[in-house]
């Protein structure tokens, strides 16, 4: 356990030393929110109708944008080799890295999401559903993205491949995430949606680390 905390501390230190990693996904998320009404229509009724979908798609793409880098720098500087021949568990390293990615691209994003919701005239009662759905949905995005990142880390140009591998896995999260916000906006109960998002999260929390560890071994050893 102390090894897990040491890894988490190192990962957070790395991210906070390299601030563009934090700013990039958030800036992307905000940019989509600012540009979309300019490009389509600034009409409040239209915007509040599409808000749930647009915000969730922007969050998903912001996550996908940064997912490529989860293992990239460790692969390039040889740290990943050292992790693979470590006597400590790779599972702890992988979990710490995914948590760090989630904090940067999911947690912070959920925190600023009310700001974006305001720009989209989302009805105020829907704010809690937006934050809750992002908090429950984005960890799944990080976990599944990390599988794609681990599989493509050995390739020179893995970026496109990651999107192809990971996007199909993201779709259920997108559907239930946007559904939560829509139900919240209409004043309908959201517990069902949240339960489904939580179920997907628990499922991927169990299985994704196994897949990530296996994928890393394949990427490095072959």
């Amino acid at each position: 356990m102390s090894f897990f905390y040491a890894t988490l501390k190192r990962e957070l230190l790395l991210v906070f030393r390299h601030r563009s990693d934090i700013i990039n996904p958030l800036a992307f998320f905000l940019m989509v929110a600012v540009l979309f009404p300019l490009g389509v229509s600034p009409d409040p009724t239209f915007l509040s109708e599409v808000a749930s979908g647009v915000i969730w798609v922007a969050a998903l793409l912001a996550c996908l944008l940064s997912v490529d880098g989860i293992f990239r720098s460790d692969y390039e500087d040889g740290s990943l080799e050292q992790m693979l021949i470590s006597s400590e568990s790779l599972w702890a390293i992988v979990t710490a890295k995914v948590i760090t990615h989630w904090i940067v691209s999911g947690f912070f994003l959920a925190l600023i999401s009310p700001l974006v919701a305001m720009m989209f005239f989302l009805p105020e009662p829907a704010y809690p559903s937006l934050i809750a759905s992002l908090l429950l949905g984005t960890p799944t995005l990080s976990l599944m993205g990390a599988i794609g990142s681990a599989l493509t880390v050995g390739l020179r140009k893995g970026g496109v491949l990651i999107s192809l591998l990971v996007l199909p896995l993201y779709i259920p999260v997108l559907i239930f995430g946007a559904g939560t916000v829509q139900a919240g906006a209409m004043g309908l109960p959201i517990q069902g949606y949240l339960a489904l998002l939580a179920a997907i999260l628990v499922f991927s929390l169990m299985l994704a680390p196994i897949a990530i560890v296996a994928a890393l071994k394949i990427s490095v050893r072959s």
Binding site: A6, T7, L14, Q82, I85, R221, S222
Partner: protein
């Protein structure tokens, strides 16, 4: 017998690197892998570390297959590759603190001492990206001074080091070996370690 390789076969890009390659590493010797560029030195070391599965044959650690005793093997082995695993945005000290966490055979208490021994005294708090190539190499090699592992596998450990640095590392390798450890290394440079403890293996002869 620490490490034993039996009948190793490895092919890369339709070129046979080694065929029926066998070797043994005993305690108290330095095995120097030599061969021209592209002869498979790094590939061999990666196979020996368990970082590559692209081979046929058997590798034994203390008479057991390494795949069966990976955990024990990784604790008894220290690998310093081409890429030292040093993060540019962390300082030398932070890098070593993490490496010590990662590898339980490294000694936690003497990071400051190890940095002093590799000649990085006064550079502990400098981010590694602003160190020179040789100094970054020294950060990776500082692990040798922390290690309790009997087997060291070093891939071109002397690249970018100055003459004094090379002499110090060689002396330290000789010391490790005389204390009963063993070292497998690749280098193009003539080692100034007593000849009787060095066993050269030439990979150029293996492919034929």
């Amino acid at each position: 017998m620490l490490l034993e390789v039996k009948d190793l076969f490895c092919e890369r890009d339709e070129r046979i690197l080694f065929k029926r390659f066998s070797m043994q590493v005993k305690a108290g010797e330095v095995v120097q892998i030599i061969g021209q560029n592209g002869s498979g030195k790094t590939t061999l070391l990666r196979i020996l570390c368990g970082l590559s599965d692209a081979y046929e044959g058997e590798i034994f650690w203390q008479d057991q297959l390494i795949n069966d005793v990976r955990h024990a093997y990784y604790q008894a082995m220290l690998y310093v590759g081409h890429l030292a695993g040093v993060k540019g945005i962390l300082t030398a000290e932070e890098n070593l603190q993490w490496m010590v966490q990662l590898d339980s055979s490294l000694n936690k208490c003497s990071i400051a001492k190890a940095l002093k021994l590799v000649g990085l005294y006064g550079f502990e708090d400098v981010p590694c990206h602003s160190l020179s190539a040789g100094q970054q190499r020294r950060v990776g090699l500082a692990r040798l001074y922390l290690s309790n592992a009997p087997l060291w596998i070093l891939d071109e450990p002397f690249t970018a080091l100055d003459k004094k640095g090379v002499a110090e590392k060689e002396a330290f390798i000789a010391e490790h070996v005389s204390a009963g450890g063993s070292v497998i290394l690749t280098t193009h440079h003539d080692l100034s370690i007593p000849k009787q403890i060095i066993r050269p293996i030439n990979l150029d002869e293996m492919a034929r």
